[in-house]
Symmetry: C2
Subunit: 359 residues, 2 copies
């Protein structure tokens, strides 16, 4: 027991909400940071459970696939999906804390699984500030690691005893695979197409956010109407979250994002600010297409800096920030339809903090 407590302190950097509150504080948003810290204390037992469950999921190192999975899970992540499960569960009265924890862990593992597959498909080099699992253990191990985590996800959802969540998590994984396939389709080309962007974001981010909200709400016995509201909030929050990630890719400080600047472009990913930039500066399209086909061009620092400068000059980051705030406002408006409660306020704070990341 003491050892477990020690491990928790040592691994404090991977704890839920800490990345969000650190950023909020560094941006001078003391109020948001304080509220996040308060939420964290409120949910202390839940978050410790999550931490232990994720640790346990990493303990099995019997094969290379599991090594790849562990490598990813060890990196600090924001753990926002399990947090949403825990918070929505507190909107009602869950019969079993164990079920809620299983669903929270499932949400994080499903996310991690797609990252492992995604990095293979996008030939990703860096993830959460560390070399990708595929670079360390190979592409096949990364694929198998993702498969292991998907199986673990399904196991936990199955044993939760909610058939509707089983049905929906299968659909979610299906959407995520379809979105990955779409990304594969446009890899090495730069296609500034809004519809492609929407489909990728929906499949890669929003559906799992929705599911996390739905999972907590279902375990807590909320009404179908309330579940629908949370579904809508999840969809908007997912979009907001992705837009912020997109904006951060162009931001200056890799210490905060854990990513190289222009990493998304290097990996051939279409982001919202790049889409806006192309709309406002048509000459950029050909240049970005050239980079998508020859990402090694970005190795030339001067070239990369000039390109980034030209992109930023269009004001695309600000436009993305505005759109993210709008999406977050829509999420908060949906949440406002729910009865007032501490859990609802906490969800509201998390939405606020999520978009504050890129201010």
């Amino acid at each position: 027991m003491r050892e477990a407590a020690h491990a928790r302190v040592v691994n404090a950097e991977t704890r839920v909400l800490e990345p969000l509150s650190t950023v909020a504080r560094s941006h001078g948003l003391v109020d948001v940071a304080t509220r996040l810290d308060r939420i964290r204390r409120w949910m202390d037992a839940d978050l410790d459970d999550l931490h232990d469950a994720l640790k346990a999921a990493q303990a099995d190192r019997t094969d290379l696939g599991r090594h790849a999975a562990r490598h990813l899970l060890e990196q600090p992540g924001k753990r926002i999906r399990p947090l949403l499960v825990f918070l929505t569960a507190r909107l009602g009265d869950p019969v079993s804390g164990e079920v809620v924890r299983d669903l929270a862990v499932a949400a994080e593992l499903a996310h991690a699984a797609t990252l492992l597959h995604d990095d293979v498909i996008d030939q990703g080099m860096e993830r959460r500030g560390a070399p990708t699992a595929r670079l360390v253990y190979g592409n096949s191990a990364s694929v198998l690691g993702g498969d292991h985590l998907l199986i673990e996800t399904l196991r936990r959802v199955e044993r939760s005893g909610h058939p509707s969540l089983m049905r929906t998590i299968i659909d979610v994984i299906g959407h995520m695979v379809t979105a990955e396939a779409l990304q594969l389709e446009v890899r090495g080309r730069f296609v500034p197409d809004e519809e492609v962007y929407q489909r990728v974001v929906a499949g890669k981010t929003a559906v799992l956010f929705c599911w996390a909200m739905r999972a907590g709400a279902t375990a807590a016995g909320l009404s179908p109407r309330q579940i629908d509201i949370l579904d809508r909030a999840g969809d908007r929050l997912g979009l907001a979250f992705q837009l912020v990630d997109d904006a951060l890719d162009l931001a200056d400080d890799p210490e905060i994002t854990g990513k190289d600047t222009l990493l998304d472009l290097r990996e051939g990913k279409l982001t919202w600010p790049l889409l806006i930039a192309c709309r406002r500066d048509a000459g950029l399209v050909a240049q970005l297409q050239g980079v998508a086909a020859h990402p090694e061009l970005l190795d030339d620092r001067k070239f990369a800096q000039d390109l980034r400068h030209r992109i930023l000059q269009t004001g695309c980051v600000e436009a993305t920030r505005i759109r993210a705030t709008e999406a977050a406002d829509e999420a908060r408006a949906a949440l406002a339809e729910l009865p007032a409660s501490a859990a609802r306020d906490a969800l509201d704070t998390v939405v606020e903090a999520a978009v504050e990341r890129c201010r």
Copy 2:
């Protein structure tokens, strides 16, 4: 409707049981072939349903992953797993033909999914006598194609409304992934270790055979005792089936096997005859390890022929055939514990035909 009937005739070569009965006939086993033909007529409607459902599963070509999946499903396969679902279902009284068909299709799609992932991990070049999907559409597409098929598998099992089958198919997929990871671990090395062989066979073949039997039996409302018997029969049949495949890899006629000779060795797969050969001719170990590390050695025809000759001289194919027959006999002994019925006899014939393939 006429068009559908026409499509069925055109695609006759992919029909269930035909590969088995053709082989039986070419081996002069007229009796087995006649019985198989009779089973096929008996199950005509079921098999047409299967054929149509697999066709429909190929119809969606919206992305590269689905193209890869279609490429594999188009190749003629033995379709033995769905056949086992249909036959075991006939041991009892299924409430819904649709459920049985869903489970049969799920068994085939789960199998196809692992082949798509397997070929990426083993860098397979040829499958069912055609270039692998990964060669045609790329590794990423093959991975995503497998993911698509797994999702389809889960969807069908979920809607069958049998939670025990959902739980077990998740375990089956978990075992299959673990077996693939184990194969990845020993790739490029030749490790003649019986335990590794057993674990790979169990994970890659036997668990899905067991599940197919269990699925049909569950849908048909058989008793837990009968399901246990079928589980045992499935395990033995799966082993027998794999042993026969192993033996065929060393057989002469690629027209029958749809594979190159020594293809398993080229892809670094450990097979039972190779294990036996090493036991009987210790000098072979170093040579096979050399080939595993440098499969291009097999491009030298003379070298490949000499090696194959040396392997065959140990009598390993005959030993494998004997072991396959023993495993099949165990499967048939298990089946004999069930009450006599036409479906039981048909299962018995399928087991018999499966091992006769390599006589």
